[in-house]
């Protein structure tokens, strides 16, 4: 099924699932506290256990969410990697959109003006 790309929106299809398998498997392993400790103790040799590509290893070293996504990372697994550095989803959002965390939060807060109209059911074309 071919569908038009959605600007700024990576879709985790089979193509990316295939490409990112080793990277995501490494991130998935970080659910485990002992694995997180092993990663922190020796990042490179921990990553070497997962047959990651050079691009994936570089993306891990770069801490760049965009690079990790481009290397096939899925954000649900990457979250476990980000968690090691105590980064939350707003930190990730700011990094990917090239703004400060405060700016990123301010943008989100701007949507609060819709709250009342959604709650009363006025805002909707149904």
């Amino acid at each position: 099924m071919t569908t038009a790309p959605i600007p700024g929106t990576p879709v985790f299809t089979g193509e990316f699932a295939m490409k990112g398998y080793a990277l995501n498997k490494m991130c998935f392993s970080l659910n485990n506290a002992a694995n997180r400790a092993a990663f922190l103790a020796d990042e490179d040799s921990y990553c070497d256990k997962f047959e990651m590509t050079g691009e994936q290893k570089a993306a891990i070293r770069s801490r760049s969410v965009a690079a990790l996504i481009a290397a096939g990372g899925n954000v649900y697994y990457l979250a476990k990697f980000a968690g090691i550095f105590h980064l939350n989803v707003q930190d990730l959002g700011a990094q990917q959109t090239g703004v400060t965390v405060e700016e990123f939060k301010a943008k989100l807060n701007g949507y609060a003006r819709f709250n009342a109209d959604v709650n009363t059911g006025r805002l909707s074309n149904v």
Binding site: M1, T3, I6, P7, G8, T9, P10, V11, F12, T13, G14, A17, Y21, N24, K25, C27, F28, L30, N31, N32, A33, R36, V65, I69, N74, V75, Y76, Y77, A79, K80, A82, G83, I84, H86, N88, V89, Q90, L92, G93, Q96, T97, F104, K105, K107, L108, N109, Y111, A112, F114, N115, D117, V118, N119, G121, R122, L123, S124, N125, V126
Partner: protein
């Protein structure tokens, strides 16, 4: 025969778990969100369920890409809340209702749904946070049946498929001989997106459309492809599929008991919608 009371659909943003752990329910940032659950718990006190069917998506705790099911149903005696890697506290083990699980599994396979059955299943924040919001005092006084929908790896099931899946679950519950009262939790959403240059995308207009349609016109959502859902609700807004499945379980005619749409909570348009089942058309 068992009876479906209705559903509580709620966002499951991990930050909520952190706020609960830090007792921030009255903090100005969190209060408008948590306050929605006060009338929800009052409604629940008048309609106490025996079992909760939790429709959610796994966030990379129980399922990995080696075995990624479209639809999975838990059939365990007990479900373990486990470390997700980034630090929200776990909760004590949750009690399952395997007899009801198997009745549902029999029903949906009979109806040609190709589920994966899980007799061992780790549950993440998408299961535990809604339960903590409904029963903040401690372990929930209910058994649970977790139903996991793939919102992680495309192709996702379509909204139409999800609605039908939910309806099949609902029929199996209403045909289940023990006289249980069953609540549905629909976990996730509404619009949000964590990755890409569109990270932070929120769409109140589409959220409003979903909330209005979910009351009694869920078929208004079944025309959308999953691609359109991602475009309109954001990548993780695809969690609306859990809400659509949950609405399918409720079946029949519903009354909206309450709604609490609240931005900002973390990256997400948070929402709470309580539906009460007021009538099931017999087919």
């Amino acid at each position: 025969m068992s009876k479906i009371i209705g559903s509580v659909a709620t966002s499951h943003i991990p930050g909520i778990g952190g706020a609960i752990a830090k007792n921030l329910q009255h903090d100005p940032y969190w209060k408008p969100f948590f306050d929605g659950f006060i009338p929800t718990r009052e409604w629940l006190a008048n309609n106490p369920p025996d079992v909760v069917v939790v429709v959610y998506n796994d966030h990379g705790l129980n399922f990995f890409l080696d075995k990624m099911p479209t639809f999975a149903i838990g059939a365990a005696q007990v479900y373990i809340s486990e470390d997700e890697g980034w630090g929200i506290p776990t909760v004590p083990p949750l009690e399952g209702d395997p007899a009801l699980s198997w009745a549902i599994i029999e029903g949906v396979v009979q109806d040609e749904f190709d589920v994966t059955t899980c007799q061992e299943m780790l549950v993440d924040h998408a299961v535990t946070i809604p339960l903590q919001l409904l029963w903040p005092e401690g372990p929930p006084p209910v058994k649970i049946v977790p139903v996991a929908v793939n919102t992680v790896q495309h192709p996702l099931p379509s909204p139409a498929r999800c609605l039908k899946f939910g309806q099949s679950i609902g029929r199996a519950i209403e045909a289940y001989a023990p006289a249980l009262k069953v609540l549905v939790i629909s976990s996730g959403g509404l619009s949000h997106q964590l990755e890409g240059e569109r990270a932070g995308f929120i769409n109140p207009q589409f959220d409003a459309l979903c909330l209005n349609a979910l009351i009694n016109q869920p078929e208004k959502l079944t025309g959308y492809t999953t691609h359109a859902i991602v475009e309109l609700a954001g990548s993780q807004g695809a969690e609306i599929l859990n809400w659509i499945t949950g609405r399918g379980i409720v079946q029949g005619v519903a009354r909206e008991v309450l709604r609490n749409y609240h931005i900002p909570i973390s990256n997400t348009a948070s929402a709470l919608q309580v539906l009460e089942q007021v009538g099931v058309p017999r087919s």
